[in-house]
Amino acid sequence: MAYCINCGVLLDDGALKCVLCDTAVTMPEKNAETAASPAYPERLVIPNSVRKRYTVFLISVILLIPNIICVIINILMPDKGLWSVYVVSSSLFVWLIIAVPMMLKKMNPYIILTAYTISALLYAYVFYLMLHKDNWYVSLAVPFIITFSLCCFIFIAWVRKQKRGKLSITAMLLADIAIFSLLTEALINIYYKNENLFFVSVIISVSCICLMLFFRATEKNERLKAWMTRRFYF
């Protein structure tokens, strides 16, 4: 029998250290001779993640029923044009965004993001084919979707690189929003051939940057962090 000289608790025969405080047992070589087996085996069982097939099925049915009805009505009344294409493509897009990730066993965020980008590009293309006004798809929709995806991609890569605190994640998110708002406004103004490239986005960006700097400062200053915790406790 071995006792921990720090905690005073009795330990297993052969214990080399106390499981509570890690203090070494005084005569480990003697205990090792009479070593008892560990209290638990080494075998770990990690259960498989549950695939949300039931939820996917429900979402699919909920989306499918109105689509079938719309397609039938559209076929029966063809004189109003192919309006059901909007319903079907929108439903398909929602289904791809929500249901497909649920069916995957392991989600790689980059693959999911690429799939989402392609889906969004195709979805916008359907609308472009149906409306066919100007060249908005190439000069506005494609750059907008790609800019958004790139911002998401940078954010995900940055978060995954190492463990980040909540405040620095928020700060990075704000930086992302600032960049995205600037690029989006520039794209819109180029498309509409406006003189000023930036206006609203500058206000958004300045606000985001101020908040971002504040969060960064809070993260580095323990006293400020403690003060904030006390002040904004709810």
Partner: protein, 429 residues
Amino acid sequence: MQGAKSAAQTHQWFKLDNAGKIFPGQNNSKWSNIFRVSVSLESDVEKKTLETALKDTLKRFPCYAVRIRRGLFWYYLENLEGVYPPVMDDIKNPCHRVNFKENNRFLFRVYVYKNRISVEFFHALTDAYGATTFLLTLTAQYLRLFGADIPPKGMVFDINEKASKSELEDSFLRFANSKAKIKRSSDFVYHAKGERIGRHKINITTGYIDCAAFRKKAKEYGVTVTELSAAILLDIHYRKQLAENRKQKIVSIQIPVNLRNHFPSETLRNFSLCYNIKLDPNMGDYTFDEIVKHVAQSLRLQNNSKELNAMMTKNLALEKSIFMRIMPLFIKKTAIYTSFVLTGEKTVSALFSNVGIVTVPDEIKPFIKNVMLMTGPGILNGARLAAITYENTLAISFANIYKENDIEREFFTRIVKLGVHVKIESNRE
């Protein structure tokens, strides 16, 4: 699964009891709703013989030989016949999440490690009393197969008898008849934080305590073993929060009560309720003696059949509500899950579940070394304690999801400082 099909054809099924209804909706990777009871024998366990004993024992407990199925409005339990749960080698991470399709679809698992037999139950099936009864009956039958003569007594049931109606009933329905309704506490409380260990993993630390010496110490304070243990736990959390020098939140310990001690029920299904002992640090500074008094008084104030009946009635009212009954299961499940995410463990700092003393026939005592009970991992609670007493040994187990073990260390060290012997066992490296 041929047997399972034939059982389905005979349509033997059970409704989930009132307490069990919430568990399937809460089943997720972080919170498993599984708890474990183990019995350590004097000699190593033979798996084959245990399998035979399990087959013999399961007939006596039809409410555990079930699978869970999804109805349109509620989950329900359907009998499994001709199949048995496998007896498995023990693992390092007990109480991991239940998968309804594993384990031959049974909702309890049987593990063996050297001289230890462990059963892990999904809480929708039963509470710790039912699980302990099943394990001890199984152990007695296992020992009988080696020639031991063990009569049925106490928590060892006669396997040749048929399960009575009262053993299979939902006792909440029978006893919840109060005109008053008491709502559960909804204060958001303090949680001791730490660095989480991996998902589906858990740190277990069990302290085997000299029960007579501990009871003597508790008597010196004028309280019971449960009250003193809960007071130590509350005191640790209270002082830990003070040391963190932050805005002080309420500290709360949840204590499940075995309702069989208050109502004449024989049920083997869930029949327990939880109440919270709260301490508000903003009221002023508390000494340990004051905390012990506070815990004892709060417990004794709530621990009576009238108060418990009002709590049961409140819980049952939700289940009986017509809106709840006609709501399709998928909406109910989402609502339960959302409510659990939003409140759940946020109203509890730590859990202390004490099953009490295990009563077994004298003939089985020479074969059993000790009995242990542990809860599954929590989402926010680093400290989830479960206690069970066999002969003169009180086994208190911590189930911890954090790397830090300061609460366990403090808890057992305090008991040692009271002059009581504690032997520690853990799965930590």
